[in-house]
């Protein structure tokens, strides 16, 4: 029995390739994509800004120097000051924290809830699926921003509730994604193989289906962070998100839209901050998609 091996072939001679898992491969693919790296760079920049920015930025972002109202960009105030005489640059730096926070956590919320529902619906099927899918349909048929507004109206307008509302409106997106992924993975041959060796459903779910449906969730999640930041900004713009004196970017835009004529910099820079951050996440999401999507490989 042991002498079988040499009898068969000389495979054992072949050189040892460095072990690398699918995640590592994805990482390598990701690193190779210029777009993705630029995106990740932007995101990283804003993350660092969120973490360390407040240390560098001018102190007292909420200190009002009414004498310094609406000053144009200058050596002292690189991006000018707002209508309360506050340094816009410092506020943008602090605002990074808020936008990223809302982005990350709302998406984590939607992913957790959406995945749970999606997996249950996809794996158990039948009436559970029918009910969950119908609920998703209902939620998707709502104009999402209106749904968010309604939810915030119920909960009260503040950043945390805006975060919750954004998380809620994105749940069906993730739910559906995971559901369809589960449905297709369920038909994969390695699931049949797992059943064939006598594996229990629960274990199949956890050890096979879940990990294999994560790649699109990660991609979608990254892109959803981008959307969530935009949604938060829109809510902030409507006065339904962060409250004063928080330097949330959307709110900064709302606060300064009256000054578009007289002090355009109050409008331009926070807008650019939003755009750049969102762009970063979008680029990164794109890169991740290419890296994680097996169809992109040969």
């Amino acid at each position: 029995m042991t002498e079988l091996a040499p009898k068969i072939d000389g495979i054992t001679k072949e050189k040892v390739i460095k072990t690398s898992g699918p995640w590592r491969e994805a990482w390598n693919g990701f690193r190779k994509s210029k777009v993705a790296v630029v995106g990740a760079g932007i995101v990283l920049f804003f993350i660092l800004l969120a973490i360390f920015g407040p240390l560098i930025a001018k102190e007292g972002i909420n200190d009002q120097v009414l004498g310094d109202r609406l000053l144009p960009p200058s050596a002292e105030f690189w991006l000018g000051t707002d209508d309360l005489g506050r340094d816009i640059l410092s506020r943008i730096i602090h605002g990074a924290r808020i936008s990223l926070w809302v982005g990350f956590f709302s998406v984590i919320g939607s992913v957790v809830v959406g995945s749970a529902l999606g997996i249950i619906a996809g794996y158990y099927g039948r009436w559970v699926d029918t009910i969950i899918s119908r609920v998703f349909d209902i939620m998707l048929a709502f104009p999402s921003i209106l749904l968010a507004i309604a939810i915030i109206s119920v909960l009260g307008p503040n950043l945390q509730n805006a975060l919750i509302a954004i998380a809620i409106i994105n749940v069906p997106n993730f739910g559906r994604l995971i559901r369809s992924k589960v449905l297709s993975i369920k038909e994969d041959e390695y699931i049949t193989a797992a059943k064939g060796i006598g594996m229990k459903d629960a274990r199949i779910l956890i050890s096979h289906i879940l990990p294999n449906s994560m790649a699109p969730v990660i991609v979608q999640g990254t892109l959803a962070i981008a959307t969530a930041i935009l949604e938060a900004a829109a809510l902030g713009f409507l006065g339904l998100g962060a409250q004063a004196p928080m330097p949330e970017w959307g709110k900064m835009l709302a606060d300064s839209k009256n000054y578009l004529q007289s002090a355009p910099w109050t409008m331009i820079f926070p807008g650019m901050a939003i755009m750049l951050t969102v762009l970063g996440f979008n680029l990164m999401g794109d890169g991740l998609r290419d890296a994680l999507d097996p169809r992109m490989k040969n």
Binding site: F142, I145, L146, S153, V154, A234, L253, L260, V278, L279
Partner: protein, 334 residues
């Protein structure tokens, strides 16, 4: 086919019912008494109490809900608590305004987006591809209200090319027949007005079109890239067909299906979610109407208009599904 449509419409019923229920519960969970809101700050306690009773707001919620459902089945969408106008009468003009804008936006988005996507895929990794895709990414990364305000600043105020707000030149108003002004002016042969109406559409239309355009371009590109790799494209080329026809005949028809889905979803989105654009450009549309109704706790308006918007949304998506079968003979609904 008909039975498929029937089936889909039947499936709509639970969705719309669930929808009415959710809307009903959410808006009633919003603090604030509509009677108070309607009467305003200056109103007396008695007036508020009287109005509350009059509006039936002191009934238990399930009675209110079933009354509402009953009305809907009778085809009665209720009347606005605030203006007392029947919702059916009012909603058409708002819907039409939004529909016109959304259609304009989606047409721009489709024409530019699809072509940009096709060319990007055709000349993959060319400078056009890179530029278009970066622009598309920037497009989806912008807050549209910001874009709208900036557009207004540049094109209306600085350059004076386009009007700032509204749907028409109010001094020479369009006589509303269908409330789709482009159509109305054409019907009446007022081509001078048509130009004005189109000018009014440009800024809000572009602001709205940006995101769908970018999404469509990206979707088209990736879908095209996939199709371009397929065997039948190779076959078409092996026949000696010109690349232009290979792309625009063979590839496009195959690549368009996922793009159609996106278009359907985006169109639905534009119909209900353009609140900010409608506010900035003073567009008398449905998004702003609902948004203001939420502010006024105008329950019947919120309930009925969201229901209608949702209905349109699902119908558009049904339409998209049916279009699949026109494009793809393999898809047969029966």
């Amino acid at each position: 086919m008909l039975s498929y449509i029937g089936k889909r419409l039947l499936q709509l019923i639970p969705v719309l019912l669930g929808m009415t229920f959710i809307v009903f519960m959410i808006i009633r969970a919003i603090p604030g008494n509509p009677a108070q809101v309607i009467l305003g700050q200056q109103a007396t306690k008695e007036a508020v109490a009287a109005l509350t009773t009059k509006l039936g707001l002191d009934n238990p919620w399930y009675i209110q809900y079933f009354n509402y459902l009953g009305d809907i089945f009778k085809g009665d969408l209720g009347e606005s608590m605030r203006t007392r106008a029947p919702v059916v009468d009012e909603i058409w003009s708002y819907l039409a305004a939004t529909f016109e804008l959304a259609l304009f936006a989606i047409i721009i988005a489709i024409v530019i987006g699809i072509n940009a996507g096709i060319i990007s895929a055709w000349f993959q990794n060319s400078w056009f591809d890179y530029t278009a895709m970066i622009l598309a990414l920037v497009g989806v990364s912008m807050p549209i209200f910001w874009l709208g305000l900036m557009g207004q600043w540049v094109f209306s105020l600085e350059l004076q090319w386009l009007p700032t707000t509204g749907r028409e030149e109010v001094r020479d108003p369009v006589e509303a027949i269908t409330n789709l002004y482009v159509l109305d002016t054409i019907i009446q042969g007022r081509f001078d007005q048509l130009g004005v109406v189109l000018k009014h559409l440009v800024l809000p239309g572009l602001a709205l079109a940006t995101i769908p355009m970018a999404i469509i371009a990206r979707m088209t590109r990736s879908s095209m890239l996939e199709v371009m790799r397929s065997d039948y494209i190779r076959t078409a080329r092996a026949k000696g067909q010109k690349m232009f026809w290979v792309v625009y005949k063979h590839a496009l028809k195959n690549a368009i299906i996922p793009v159609l889905t996106i278009i359907g979803l985006q169109m639905g989105m534009l119909l209900g979610g353009a609140i900010l654009t409608e506010t900035i450009f003073a567009w008398p549309g449905i998004g702003r109407y609902i948004y203001e109704a939420i502010g006024y706790r105008d329950y019947p308006v919120i309930q009925s208009s969201i229901l209608i918007v949702a209905l349109i949304f699902v119908l558009i998506n049904l339409l998209v599904d049916l279009m699949y079968s026109l494009i793809d003979p393999r898809i047969k609904y029966d």
